[in-house]
């Protein structure tokens, strides 16, 4: 079923993009060199739980190569070099083409990409306002979030306010797990179909409201050994306000419901978080977050965590961040420290 739909999507894509390829040939001489940039992510975490602490180490280097192939097609490639237990593991984190206008108001993305699900999943860690990803994201979509190879179509609806509809078909990477239904590792794998509606309203000249709805159908981590069908639906609300000078406040709230059919069992879990951040000058930003999530196992436990963040922006691309977390269930505390540094003209699409 998925392969048929994917084939159809690919055919449509080739049909629409043929004139674009023709343009590529004629405009090649005007193409500039791509932008090269590098983001380094050093972090460490120390906590009172039995979970081992992590020293302050360089955890990831992200190398980005970005540029336009022609006026309508942009290529973005993000290579990541992860430090996993002392070994550097390179992989293509994202590599995709963006077709700006296949037709009026219709765009497309093709390649490997983080799924545009909710507010945080498609962002890279250097774009987050926090060190640790929201619990609901890592518990419901996987430790690294949901990503896959495939494509999506996005369309800006003809409304007086900004509303974008995105539909995608992806093949998520397999997840290595123990063959036991009670494992805590969870992620989205196999063929995934996903949709997102993202709207925005300018409340005043200085404030903006964004509302999003996302959904995906896929398979859970145990799909290789038994039935493991998963659907996740989420909603996200973002409020941003800007004051004179550099003052800015931002609020992210996201909630998700996960339905899972695991063997003969069916169950639903929910989770969410709310974050508030305030930047009081060009350099300093404070934030606080509350997370609540139910684990995606047969026997669910609740996790509730409070955390607070303090960020110092050294330059446009370099920041130092400290994060304190407190688990209301286990009463464990954790302290995280992060240094993100950037070289070159790194950029991400508006999310």
């Amino acid at each position: 079923m998925y392969s048929r739909v994917f084939g159809l999507f690919l055919s449509l894509f080739l049909l629409f993009s043929f004139p674009l390829f023709a343009q590529t040939v004629t405009t090649r001489s005007a193409t500039l060199l791509p932008n090269f940039s590098l983001i380094g992510n050093m972090n460490g975490r120390w906590d009172t739980s039995p979970k081992p602490s992590e020293g302050f180490l360089l955890k990831e280097i992200e190398l980005a190569v970005q540029g336009y192939l022609d006026p309508s097609v942009k290529a973005d490639v993000f290579m990541a070099f992860h430090n996993e237990n002392g070994t550097t593991v390179p992989h293509v984190e994202e590599g995709y083409l963006t077709f700006l206008n296949l037709a009026d108001d219709l765009g497309a993305k093709l390649g490997k990409k983080k799924l545009n699900f909710g507010k945080q999943n498609s962002l890279h860690p250097e774009q987050w306002a926090m060190i640790e990803a929201p619990l609901v994201m890592t518990r419901f979509l996987g430790e690294e979030g949901a990503s896959g190879q495939g494509g999506s179509l996005d369309y800006i609806l003809p409304l007086p306010f900004f509303t974008q509809l995105e539909l995608g078909l992806w093949k998520a990477d397999p997840i290595e797990v123990q063959a036991s239904p009670n494992v805590t590792v969870f992620g989205i794998t196999g063929p995934v179909s996903h949709a997102r509606v993202w709207s925005s309203w300018s409340l005043t000249d200085n404030s903006e409201l964004e509302l999003g709805f996302s959904g995906l159908l896929g398979q859970g981590a145990l799909s290789s050994v038994q039935t493991d069908e998963v659907s996740v639906f989420g909603t996200d609300l973002t409020l941003k306000g800007w004051g004179e000078k550099f003052n800015r406040w931002v609020s992210y709230t996201e909630a998700m419901v996960l339905n899972r059919k695991l063997g003969a069992d069916r169950f639903s879990r929910w989770g969410g978080y709310s974050y508030f951040g305030y930047r009081w000058n060009a350099y300093w930003e404070w934030g606080a977050r509350v997370d609540h999530v139910q684990t995606v196992d047969l026997v669910s436990t609740d996790e509730t965590k409070l955390s607070t963040q303090l960020t110092y922006q050294l330059s446009e691309t370099t920041k130092l961040r400290a994060e304190y977390g407190y688990d209301l269930g286990t009463k464990d505390s954790s302290v995280g420290l992060q240094m993100i540094f950037g070289l070159g003209p790194h950029s991400h699409v508006l999310q």
Partner: protein, 303 residues
């Protein structure tokens, strides 16, 4: 009756489409560029603006609502020189590849010499420096005259039937701006030499236009906050050179500037780097009047 309704519908739809075609939708990145475009385009353009004058153009968060402004625009007028690179993400989200193409974009930074162009390889050691030179070029009224002519040419390409109208408006506006600048140059002349310290490197074009000598910045490097040690050294330098004017952008830390002013006896002037940066500065002409009249008062005060 049926024929009458059809005829009416045809007239309304034809009339609406003619009305829509009669005006060109232009979006300018800054209020300064928007104001110049309004002056040049007159009755034939509808001008929107992406950022507010009180925002530091180096630190603008692109918003989805800006995407809607772009989608409705026939022409985008950019600051250029990498100062508005945040607009790129809006263009990508808007799906309007015409803004990747030069036909529907005017880079307002073209056509006049740039200042502070870095030499050799640059990196973070130079602070948040701009590869193509200092991008605050609109603070020199002479450059605004060139921008007005470039806007007229671009509008004329899009609406050839009104090309002469745009050119005439641009020439008239250029003359008005130059006249105003000449008036203020004469007003400032008796105070020369005018030595100033500025918070950020926003003012070299302004200084060149009106004959000010920028001795130093409060930032040791562009975008890098001053350390106490650096401010002590700057204080000594200001006293040695008898610098009595500190120019600050409204979004910078004015308290630090005031403390430096108290220690050196210098007047702190919060000037408008953009239209809308300060209440009452609603046009480029009023920006010149505000900045220069305030500067003159400051100079009179410290004499």
């Amino acid at each position: 009756m049926k024929k009458l309704v059809i005829a009416l519908l045809f007239c309304v739809s034809f009339g609406t489409s003619l009305w829509a075609q009669s005006k060109l939708n232009v979006v300018a990145v800054t209020p300064d560029l928007a104001d110049i475009t309004r002056e040049v385009g007159g009755e034939y353009v509808r001008v929107g603006v992406l950022m507010q004058g009180w925002q530091d153009p180096h630190h603008v968060d692109p918003k989805p609502s800006m995407v809607m402004q772009l989608r409705q625009a026939d022409l985008l007028i950019r600051i250029g020189m990498d100062l508005d690179s945040w607009v790129d993400s809006l263009i990508q989200t808007s799906r309007q590849s015409r803004f990747v193409n030069a036909d529907s974009v005017l880079n307002a930074s073209l056509g006049f010499p740039k200042l502070d162009i870095p030499q050799g390889a640059i990196d973070g050691r130079s602070g948040d420096i701009h590869l193509y030179g200092n991008p605050h070029y609109w603070l020199d009224p002479e450059n605004v005259g060139v921008i007005a002519l470039n806007v007229a040419q671009k509008l004329g390409q899009r609406m050839p039937q009104h090309a002469d109208y745009f050119l005439a408006k641009a020439q008239k506006y250029k003359a008005t701006v130059e006249q105003k600048a000449d008036f203020w140059k004469r007003e400032i002349k008796p105070f020369k030499p005018v030595l100033v310290v500025t918070y950020h490197q926003t003012w070299p074009y302004f200084a060149k236009a009106f004959g000010l000598q920028v001795v130093a910045q409060m930032e040791p490097k562009p975008g890098i906050p001053p350390s106490p040690k650096y401010l002590i050294e700057l204080e000594k330098k200001m006293k040695q050179m008898n610098v009595k004017i500190i120019i600050v952008e409204p979004w910078q830390n004015i308290d630090w500037a005031k403390q430096l002013g108290q220690r050196t006896g210098a007047e702190v002037l919060v000037l408008a780097p953009s239209v809308g940066a300060i209440q009452g500065v609603n046009s480029y002409l009023s920006l010149i009047d505000f900045n220069l009249s305030y500067l003159k008062k400051g100079l009179q005060h410290v004499q």
